[in-house]
């Protein structure tokens, strides 16, 4: 049993170690993808053979607030040379925050041969594994994408409103100061894109990074995650759960934990998140 398997996750195969990645650098069936919050980081050096998928440029519609459509995803996968059979392995900075966001977007298109490198970029760097500035040139593929499916793992505002009315469980993964609305009123803070502060009524506050060991960025064992989300926040494995943050990026990390590490089958990420809810007219807000 591998160290990751010993942590008791329901779908432990979705997480791979830095050792696993190191032994698959030349595997033609694997495409390693770096996704970062910092737009400069990939170019300072990355895992040999890794391509960059930038959330802003590659995964978003350039005009409307939405993700790319089928054709855009197809073009992206063709550019990075991935086929439907390619196993994509995400890693990135900030405890894989943006890597799990990219992972989540890929799931909207049903590319389920996807994994995350435990510990992310910082673990690879701290282990003094090789980095390169060479940008790989993978032969373009003929990827045929499915239509984006927004129903299964994505929530929209009207669905969230019905969820609130039904008193469905929700997790707000922002910081406590954002959850209470205090941060929006701190004079030194920039406007965070919302007119009102607070949280969606009924949401429990579990900051996203609590799922990660601060020392090395790896995910905490299943037992500790259950204590966090079930004993403390009151979730149950068969719950219909909505997670949110400011724009849906941090909450995709929590979506990943609940769905893949704890095996919850009904978790949706509300990517409109607080920048939508905190600007909506007439919706309920708690502080």
């Amino acid at each position: 049993m591998s160290e990751i398997e010993s942590r008791g996750y329901i779908h432990s195969d979705v997480l791979v170690s830095t050792d696993w990645v190191a032994s698959h650098l030349d595997d033609p069936g694997v495409r390693i993808i770096e996704s970062n919050e910092d737009p400069l980081l990939y170019s300072t050096g990355h895992i040999p053979g890794a391509v960059e998928v930038d959330w802003t440029r590659d995964l978003n519609d350039p005009v409307r607030r939405d993700y790319l459509g089928r054709e855009g995803f197809e073009a992206l996968m063709r550019r990075i040379g991935a086929t439907r059979d390619t196993t994509v392995v995400f890693y990135g900075d900030r405890n894989n925050w943006w890597a799990t966001y990219a992972f989540w977007v890929f799931q909207l298109f049903g590319h389920d041969k996807a994994k995350v490198m435990d510990g992310g970029r910082i673990k690879w760097v701290n282990e003094q594994r090789p980095l390169t500035r060479d940008v790989p040139k993978h032969p373009a593929s003929d990827y045929q994408a499915a239509e984006r499916d927004d129903k299964r793992i994505r929530a929209f505002r009207d669905e969230v409103l019905r969820h609130v009315e039904a008193k469905g469980p929700m997790i707000d993964v922002r910081s406590p100061a954002e959850y209470t609305g205090e941060r929006l009123h701190m004079p030194e803070y920039p406007n965070e894109g919302a007119l009102r502060g607070g949280h969606i009524p009924g949401a429990a506050n579990v900051p996203w990074a609590k799922a990660v060991n601060p020392d090395d960025g790896t995910f905490k064992p299943a037992q500790e995650l259950r204590a966090l989300y079930e004993s403390e926040a009151g979730l149950k494995a068969d719950d219909d759960v909505i997670v949110y943050c400011r724009i849906g990026e941090r909450s995709s990390h929590t979506w990943f934990v609940l769905t893949h590490l704890l095996g919850y089958e009904r978790v949706r990420n509300y990517d409109g998140s607080w920048t939508e809810w905190g600007n909506l007219v007439g919706v309920p807000i708690e502080r």
Binding site: D38, L40, P190, R246
Partner: protein
Amino acid sequence: MAVPEKLTQTLEMLELVPDRSERIQLLIDIAGRFEDVPPRISRRPFPKEHQVPACESEAYVFGEERPDGTLDFHFAVENPQGVSAKAMAVLLDETLSGAPPAQVAEVPQDIVYKVFGRELSMGKSMGLMAMVGMVATLAKKYEERKGA
């Protein structure tokens, strides 16, 4: 209010590098010139009042008075992966240290987009803009103290 001359020159220089990969490389090179705040100014753990709000890279900004009545700006960036924050810190130091504080106080936060382009995440742009804002605030407070 005029924009500090060195800042204007640097922004014009960056405009001459429209290619994204070349711009990134230039900014990485700039980040390579980053120097931590000297111990005579501050030591770890840095005071919270110097921490840039909303900056995910845990950046700190310090002002040091010069004999000529201007300020030197010093920075710390605690996130070892905070390359953008380090690049921003170097640019702010090299273009605003020694500039008239009244001009520094009026530097607009959206210079971040002129440096990094529009393709920044919301959190990243807020953090970088807050660095600019904190430098401007230090200059403004310094001017107020001088005038008091």
